[in-house]
Amino acid sequence: MMFNFPVQLPAHLQLHLQPAEGAVSQVVGLTHLEGPCERNEWDVVNAEPEEQMRGSGDTMSESDPAGVKGHISPESSTMRTLGTGPSCTNTVVSLVRHEGPEVIPSYSSSAMSEVVMPDAMVSPAVGVPYVENPGGPVGDFSYVGIDAILEQMRRKAMKQGFELNIMVVGQSGLGKSTLMNTLFKSKVSRKSVQATGQEKIPKTIEIKSISHDIEEKGVRMKLTVIDTPGFGDQINNENCWRPIMKFINDQYEAYLQEEININRKKRIPDSRVHCCIYFIPPTGHCLRPLDVEFMRRLSKVVNIVPVIAKADTLTLEERDFFKKKIREELRANGIDVYPQKEFDEDAEDRMINEKIREMIPFAVVGSDQEYQVNGRRLLGRKTKWGTIEVENIAHCEFAYLRDLLIRSHMQNIKDITSSIHYEMYRVRRLNENNTVLAHANGVPEHHLATHEM
């Protein structure tokens, strides 16, 4: 009995199917078709049309792909063919019955035992009598369980864990390490790990990468913070972006090399920089030439999230003025920071991202010290004229940055890195190779265009 039960059923659809007398118990969810059941009008609504599942060659494809709606009489051939073959088992069809309740057979619990359930989830349908949705003409019916795929993915992801690589760039003293510690509420920065005697500005830019395994509620994450001490601190800062560009491209190269291997690893370790947080000093006037140069070059290879560092220097009006100035300058120089306009997928995305784009750059304050404020212990900075609360959105925008980076857009950041920035690098590299080979072989260049990946 290969039937995947949906773990969490929507309230109005409870799968209660019992093989009616004489019914064949192996048909997927629609056993009563053959049994002595009423001839009812059924709306077949396809809950989660998983495209991948469709490709398994099952006959469901004969009906409408997404949102199957149609009256299917119990004896219609399409329904019948549903029962054939194990390949159908992954499709989820939730059937909403029009008419009133009849005796609805509920599935025997033996079918349930085949399904491996995560501990937290208990199928509500086991042995539960039919519950009619009090509102309308719904019934429940076999719920094939396509949305179970989400749970499988979730479990797999939890087992595998996540990887996130964040790079922090900015002059020394802008609070980069403190902000990282504040974001992840643990000592993940370079300074917490190294023993620091005195803060010495290094003579050249160094790239220091520190990884930590952190865990929250069973979800494991390998967080790598890449620090760039020495950036922008010298008297002559020309080309200070070069080591950083090189590092980012080296990570892409490493991934590419793994990918084009003949014997590939099952899971390629991802050291590509997903996100680069650029710290802007809070001058209150406008961007500096160094900021513009850096962001212009790097926004083409990595997702850049600009933030205004140590924002407790600015009053609210100064902050608004500064942000507006920065946005203007970014626009004027054609710098596309994350979330990039061109990668918005649909209207909903665009709406959410527009809201974020109006707030960029976030004015943040970091702190890893707790103080007592109004009876609560909060992260903040205590001064003679007041205490700045880091997570209070009236004080600074740290909470927005954290939500963006971690709670809502982390996966999106990783996707854009792998599907856009990395792909661009790959295309460029493979074209370079082709050009080199072609020149070696004497093939004219226009032939190369056909070799697209």
Partner: protein
């Protein structure tokens, strides 16, 4: 009671006191004359963009020195080099006139490559010294305008962990030319502990690199205790961590100058919040001393260097003696030397020719006398 004692008691004003000569009135006369003449002071402010230099100057002198100020964007800053902008304002308070010149240096530290950004500033300072030297050596010395830079406020960013490489280089280049007063800008970025730490770091690094900043003179022993205490406090607070603002905010029922944040109000004139008052007191009470040090130390250094190098101040026709000292000679004196040498040679050759001519004449005469083999 002896006459000396009476004098010591300070009863100078009483002409009835026997033995009263009256020269005790001299300070008053000087005072009156200075008040009539007015004071001149030139202050230079140097620091990166966005450190609050203009706001601080406006707060210090309660004026608006930059009414039509346009701050250029990043793209324009790429093209710009450091410029010198001098604004003069006449301030009067209780009949005392002060002609204050503030020299601003926009563009300092802005460019990606700041290698040469302070050569303009150093040339400006030298130019002012040169001009003063020129005027002082001139024939009409009645109205010498003193545009020499008396004090330089160097703004240190509160964001770093101490001095930046550019800060060190700049201060070392000017500490022999002008009084350097380091100031930590935008001090409301720092908590009290961070501020103390930064001050200590800055002082350590200043020592480490041998930078000579302006030191407040110790209070004289006959000053009153309050003044001595004040001087002690001032000396202990260098470098001053300041916040500037000219906005009036309502706080705790009274109007104060400050900055309004969602978490509180930073009061500019509150000594617990920042060192603005200390900076102002230092500047005002030591304005005279700053001028003196500029005159006696920096200007004299410049003058002696300058005169060692060049022997002439050409436009008056007044030639100063060349001291027989070493030091790089400018080209014109080389040419003069060469000219003189050539003249000397010419003269020698002329003498030789004259001698030879004489000899030939003698020979010619002698020929008639006897045979010469």
């Amino acid at each position: 009671m002896s006459q000396a004692d009476k004098m010591k008691q300070g009863q100078f004003n009483n002409p009835e006191t026997p033995g009263y000569v009256g020269f005790a009135n001299l300070p008053n006369q000087v005072h009156r004359k200075s008040v009539k003449k007015g004071f001149e002071f030139t202050l230079m402010v140097v620091g990166e963009s966005g450190l609050g230099k203009s706001t601080l100057i406006n707060s210090l002198f309660l004026t608006d020195l930059y009414p039509e100020r346009i701050i250029p964007g990043a793209a324009e800053k790429i093209e710009r080099t450091v410029q010198i902008e001098a604004s003069t304002v006449e301030i009067e308070e209780r009949g005392v006139k002060l002609r204050l010149t503030v020299v601003d240096t926009p563009g300092y530290g802005d460019a990606i490559n700041s290698q040469d950004c302070f050569s303009t500033i150093i040339s400006y300072i030298d130019d002012q010294f040169e001009r003063y030297l020129h005027d002082e050596s001139g024939l009409n010395r009645r109205h010498i305008v003193d545009n020499r830079v008396h004090c330089c406020f160097y703004f240190i960013s509160p964001l770093g962990h101490g001095l930046k490489p550019l800060d060190v280089q700049f201060m070392k280049a000017i500490h022999n030319k002008v009084n350097v007063v380091p100031v930590i800008a935008k001090a409301d970025t720092l908590t009290l502990r961070e501020r103390e730490r930064l001050k200590r770091r800055v002082l350590d690094e200043i020592d480490e690199h041998g930078i000579k900043i302006y030191h407040l003179p110790d209070a004289e022993s006959d000053e009153d205790e309050d003044f001595k205490e004040q001087t002690r406090i001032l000396k202990a607070s260098i470098p001053f961590a300041v916040v500037g603002s000219n906005q009036q905010i309502e706080a705790k029922g009274k109007k104060v100058r400050g900055r309004l944040y969602p978490w509180g109000v930073v009061e500019v004139e509150n000594p617990e919040h920042n060192d603005f008052l200390k900076l102002r007191i230092m500047l005002i009470t030591h304005m005279q001393d700053l001028q003196e040090v500029t005159q006696d130390l920096h200007y004299e250094n410049f003058r002696s260097d300058r005169l060692k190098r060049g022997g002439r101040l050409s436009s008056h026709g007044y030639i100063l003696p060349l001291s027989p000292a070493k030091g790089p000679e400018p080209e014109e004196t080389d040419k003069d030397m060469i000219l003189q040498e050539k003249e000397a040679e010419l003269r020698r050759m002329q003498e030789m020719i004259a001698k030879m001519q004489l000899q030939m004449q003698k020979q010619g005469d002698g020929e008639g006398d006897g045979q010469h083999v």
